[in-house]
C-alpha cells in the first residue's frame, strides 16, 4: 500500500517535472491561486486597516506590519525555494527546477525591497531613524543584494545551462544568510525587536491582530504561487519553443483567439 502511494507520488513528481505536463497543470492552478490570493489580501487589508484594534504602544502606526511582516517572511521563503530548486537542479538535472528558481528571483527581490521600504517608513516615526546598520537590517539588505546578484549573474552568462548552474551554486551558498536573518535579533543586540510570531513560545500578538496578519501572509504566499507559475509557464514556452507540443499549444491558443 505504502509502496503504491510512493510510486504514485514519484509518478506525479516526474510528470510535473516534464515541461509539457507542467505547462498544462500550472495553467489550471494559476486562477485558483490568483483568486484565493485576491480574496485573502482584500479580507486581510480590510481587517488589518479598519477592524483590528490600535496598539497600546504604537497606536495606528503598527498597522504597517500587515504588509511589512508578510513581505519579510516571503523574502526568506522565496529564497529557500530558490536554493532548494537550485539543489534539485544540480543533483537531478531537472530543468524545470532551474525555471522555478529563475522565475522566483524578481518576485523575491520585490518582496525584499517591500520589506525594507515599509520597515524604513515605520522606523522613522517609531525609532526616530530611517535606517540603522544593525544585524537584522543589514542581513536583510544582503538578501536583496543576493537576489540582484542572482539576476545579474543569470543575464551575464550567455549559455543558459552554464548560467543556471552558476546561479544554483550562488543560491545555495547564499542560503546561509537565511538563518542569520531569522536569528539576528537573538544572536546580537539589534534595534529591531525580537520575533513576535515565528518563535517556539506563544505569539506575543493579540488574536485580533494576529488574524489579519495571517490572512495577509497566506494571501502573499498564494500570490507568489500564482506569479511564479505564470512566469515559469512563459519561460517553459520559450526554452521549449522548438518542440512539437509548444507549437501545438501556441497554434491552438492563437487559433482559438482568431476563430
Amino acid at each position: 500500500m505504502i509502496k503504491a502511494i510512493i510510486a504514485f507520488l514519484v509518478k506525479v513528481f516526474y510528470q510535473l517535472a516534464s515541461p509539457k505536463h507542467f505547462y498544462r497543470i500550472a495553467g489550471k492552478l494559476i486562477p485558483w491561486f490568483g483568486w484565493f490570493a485576491a480574496v485573502l489580501l482584500i479580507a486581510g487589508s480590510i481587517d488589518g486597516l479598519f477592524i483590528a484594534p490600535v496598539d497600546y504602544q504604537q497606536g495606528d502606526s503598527y498597522r504597517i506590519i500587515f504588509i511589512h511582516v508578510p513581505a519579510a517572511w516571503m523574502s526568506m521563503f522565496i529564497y529557500m525555494v530558490m536554493a532548494t530548486s537550485g539543489a534539485i537542479a544540480l543533483i537531478w538535472k531537472i530543468k524545470l527546477a532551474d525555471v522555478i528558481a529563475s522565475s522566483s528571483a524578481p518576485i523575491g527581490a520585490a518582496f525584499t525591497f517591500l520589506a525594507l521600504v515599509t520597515g524604513s517608513i515605520w522606523g522613522k516615526p517609531m525609532w526616530g531613524t530611517w535606517w540603522v546598520w544593525d544585524a537584522r537590517l543589514t542581513s536583510e539588505l544582503i538578501l536583496l543584494f543576493l537576489y540582484l546578484g542572482y539576476m545579474a549573474l543569470e543575464s551575464a552568462i550567455e549559455d543558459p545551462r552554464a548560467a543556471a548552474r552558476a546561479c544554483a551554486i550562488l543560491a545555495i551558498v547564499g542560503v546561509v544568510n537565511i538563518p542569520i536573518i531569522h536569528y539576528s535579533v537573538e544572536w546580537w543586540n539589534t534595534l529591531h525587536q525580537g520575533a513576535t510570531v515565528s518563535k517556539m513560545d506563544k505569539p506575543s500578538i493579540h488574536l485580533s491582530m494576529l488574524i489579519p496578519l495571517l490572512l495577509m501572509a497566506v494571501g502573499f504566499k498564494l500570490y507568489y504561487a500564482a506569479a511564479v507559475l505564470s512566469r515559469a509557464r512563459n519561460k517553459v514556452l520559450l526554452t521549449e519553443q522548438n518542440r512539437t507540443w509548444v507549437k501545438e499549444v501556441v497554434g491552438l491558443e492563437s487559433g482559438v483567439k482568431h476563430g
Partner: protein, 161 residues
Amino acid sequence: MTPKRKNRLILVLLIIVGSGLAIALGAMALKENIQYYLSPLDVKAGKAPEGQTFRLAGLVANDSVKRDKNGLTVHFDITDNVETITVTYTGILPDLFREGQGIVATGKLEGVVADGKPHFMAEEVLAKHDENYMPPPVQDALDNAEKVNAERVKAAGEKTQ
C-alpha cells in the same frame, strides 16, 4: 540514487556546510563588532571604548526624566535593572520615548560632572519598541491584574506577620 547523483548531493551539502562554517567563524570573530549597542552593565564592566562614540541601550528609569527649563536638553537615567547610567541629550526625542521605554542612545562617556559619575552625552536617541502587539484595553487589564496581585502579596505578607 545513482552514484553520480549521490556525488552531486554530497557536493551540494559540502557547499552548504562549508559556507555555513566560514560565515559562523567570521561572525564569531566579529561578535563584539556586530553588537549594535552595549548595556549599562557592559559599560561598567569596561567594554565601552574610552573617549569614542558608542551606543548605549536600556530602559529609561522611572522618575528620572528631567528637562532643563531653557531649551531642549533632557537628562535621564538608562538602566538594565542592574546598573544605571545618566544620559544628557539635546534635541527632539522619538514618539515612543517615555519612562520605562527601551531606547538606544549614541554618544560618548564624558568626564566627571557635579555628582562625580561619568555622564553619557548623547548625540542621538532612538526608541526600541518591543515585540508585543496588543490593544490598549488588554494592556490596562494586564496592569490592573499586576496591581491586584501586588496587593494580594502584600496582604498575605501582613497576615503572616
